[in-house]
């Protein structure tokens, strides 16, 4: 099995926040902690795009690298999790993460942050799978039930895909071939090209 990954297709995301609401509800995430959020670029003008962002479960996770108490681990499927009992709430993982995935439930005096919380790929944490304790600390463990992250499963347009990277790659490839464009949400021209460089032109007869 390949690693678990998320991919969010900016051509399809309609900023409905269904993923955000599903995650909040499923794991009873408190007010102020945003495991998943939808980011919109160029809001209100032609070319507006949205993307749903949470923890990317990086292969070489910066959060894991910088943690002073080494509370992070990676499962066999590539899901990056952490132990809240060890976490000292220093916030260093938040500095390191380029996606802003680590979230903190408190904003107290002297930088009091509480235990770091983040997207778990619906895989819970280092407590007994599907136990009361695991739910209280980390939310629901859907992987242990043979299910996939709820955000991807409820996405209304199937913009957000989550699961086995090989399967996702196949789905995404078929989609790009069918519609003839929109493969370039990431890539050289997007990252370094001119801001108004057009996306690849649709193939003749291609459908959006």
């Amino acid at each position: 099995m390949a690693r678990m990954k998320f991919i969010c297709d900016a051509e399809r995301c309609i900023e409905c926040n269904g993923c955000v609401t599903a995650c909040k509800n499923e794991h009873e995430v408190p007010w102020g902690v945003n495991r998943r959020r939808v980011v919109t670029i160029n809001d209100g003008v032609p070319g507006e795009r949205s993307m749903s962002v949470a923890c990317m479960h990086c292969s070489d996770a910066p959060c894991m690298a910088v943690c002073p108490v080494d509370c992070f681990y990676r499962t066999d499927e590539g899901v990056v999790l952490h132990d809240k009992d060890l976490c000292i709430g220093c916030g260093y993982c938040f500095y390191a993460c380029p996606f802003g995935a680590p979230q903190f439930p408190q904003a107290g005096a002297f930088g009091l942050r509480g235990k770091m919380d983040k997207c778990t790929f619906c895989a819970g944490g280092p407590e007994t799978n599907n136990s009361e304790e695991e739910f209280r600390k980390y939310g629901r463990n859907r992987l242990a039930e043979g299910k996939l992250p709820l955000c991807a499963e409820v996405c209304s347009t199937k913009a957000l895909l989550g699961g086995d990277a090989d399967v996702l790659a196949d789905i995404y490839r078929q989609r790009v071939l069918t519609r003839g464009k929109g493969a370039d949400i990431w890539g050289w021209s997007t990252a370094y090209g001119k801001p108004d460089a057009p996306a690849t032109a649709p193939a003749a007869g291609g459908k959006s």
Partner: protein, 657 residues
Amino acid sequence: MFGMDKIRDEAMKWTADKVEEVSGVPDDQVKLIAETMAKNKPSTVVWCMGQTQHTTGNAIVRMMCNLQLALGNVGVAGGGTNIFRGHDNVQGATDVGPNPDSLPGYYGIATGSWKHWANVWGVDYEWLKGRFASQALMEKSGITVSRWIDGVTEKNELIDQDPNLRAVVFWGHAPNSQTRGKDMLEAMKALDTLVVIDPYPSATAAMAASARKDGVYLLPAATQFECEGSCTASNRSIQWREKVIEPLWESKPDHTIMYLFAQKFGFADEFTKNVKVTNNEPSVEDILREINRGTWTIGYTGQSPERLKIHMRNMQVFDPKTLKAKGGIDKETGYVLDGEYFGLPWPCYGTPEMKHPGSPNLYDTSKHVMDGGGNFRANFGVEKDGTSLLAADGSASKGADLQFGYPEFDHVLLKKLGWWDDLTEDEKKKAEGKNWKTDPSGGIIRVAMKNHGCHPFGNAKARAVVWNFPDPVPVHREPIFSPRADLVAKYPTHEDKKAFWRLPTLYKSVQDQFANVGKDYPLIMTSGRLVEYEGGGDETRSNPWLAELQQNMFVEINPKTANDRGIRDKDMVWVKSPSGAQIKVQAMVTERVGPDTVFLPFHFAGHWMGKDLIDSYPEGAAPVVRGEAVNTATTYGYDSVTMMQETKTTVCQIMKA
């Protein structure tokens, strides 16, 4: 088609300069739209409230239909005009429910319609008539929800009924969804009794409870998850919804509340003549069966609870594009699903036994009527101004025995065609003297459709010109409150109406009074929906996940407009309207709106002109997020046919708070 030439004549008057002057859309964009639609067929036009909530809403909507007719996009898969209703089951509500001008199924309120429904309900027509103050009132269109406040506060001699309104029941209704909030508060104060039936106290708590100390009652109703039943989607498919949990605390399902009221008022027996009641709850299956037995007009007759539940159990056999079942046999009952359309979209004619598959696209002549096909209906007479209104020769649905125009089916026509003897003896007895809409056996429909492939509502031309409307050819008229006095002069609104849906309804007099309103209120104010919230909003703003996503009431304002007023993003601003009301909201400076327009969502309530009304809510029942209701500040204006409120366009001024 009837009258398309008159539409063409009107269209030729609209040169590019006129179009741009009135709509702000430049000619090259209009050309692009026209070319795109002409070259990409079939295409569909979609709208929600943006076209209907104007004084000319009926004209705008008719123009869309005319456009699609002209393009040949009507009656084809992928074409048509597709309106998204605002809520789950609004379509069901308007189909069988509380319209002030009609009984269920759009039968209207003439004597014949009352007699038909008295027959279906199993009650004596005279008894039913006796419930009303007079037969005249029984057959007169009532006051619409958009005008209830005038029913209370208008001078008694000007309203077209004896007393003013003295009591109002809000059944699942949020008052902040209706315009003229300032006037509404006065109406609430003047009422004898106000009853709110809702799972949440709704914005009524924030308004009525803040203004009066007694006479306001809250009855807790169950949410959609606490009861089951059928509901109709925007595409006319009906789905059977199941109960998830039992009603919490003291809340009761709507039909139970109705039954308890009927008991209190002494007509429980008549109310549930054909419906079994268990523990004060009328059976929802029986209610649907009663609807099935009476709603021949729009074909709500074939969707029995059994067929609907079978569809829900076997959703996987239906093709997502065509809605058609590809084979499929229900395990529980052995029912054959092949060829049926998911949810049996109405019209699903005839009795459930006739097994009509539903009609996924209206007026589709490429299909046989027993396969969901249809044609334009003959609802408006057989001829007008010397021209026949019936369809031309050769124009009919696939496989119809009559391949030319024909009127609605009734016992006379059936006899004339020699098809009367196709009916069974029992059907003949019931259908004698009736037409297809009032025949309780469904035999006329069965013979016309199943035996002869003809449409029971006749086969006629589509009307491009609607001669019984204020503007037979849809024309432009400026909204009542317009910032452009010059356009108001060129395209004035209608004349005032003395008694329209029982109330005096003003048009020209208000527009003239405010002809120069653009000087002090130069911005066009429009309102609409958000994704996070729904309707009046008190229910969704009580959900912490959704509330977190949109924590403030806001006004979308263009950067240029904001800068001209010294307003920066997230500043608090006052939005003032000619109604005299002003609301305090947060500014969202964005390019989403043009420099001449501002947009406000209508889902907020709980603030009143700058004041937080949290104390007016029952303890613990206030929503997480509260804000100003845009309708506190909206203005007078109603559609000339439907009395729909003109919420999509009025004027305002904005200044920093």
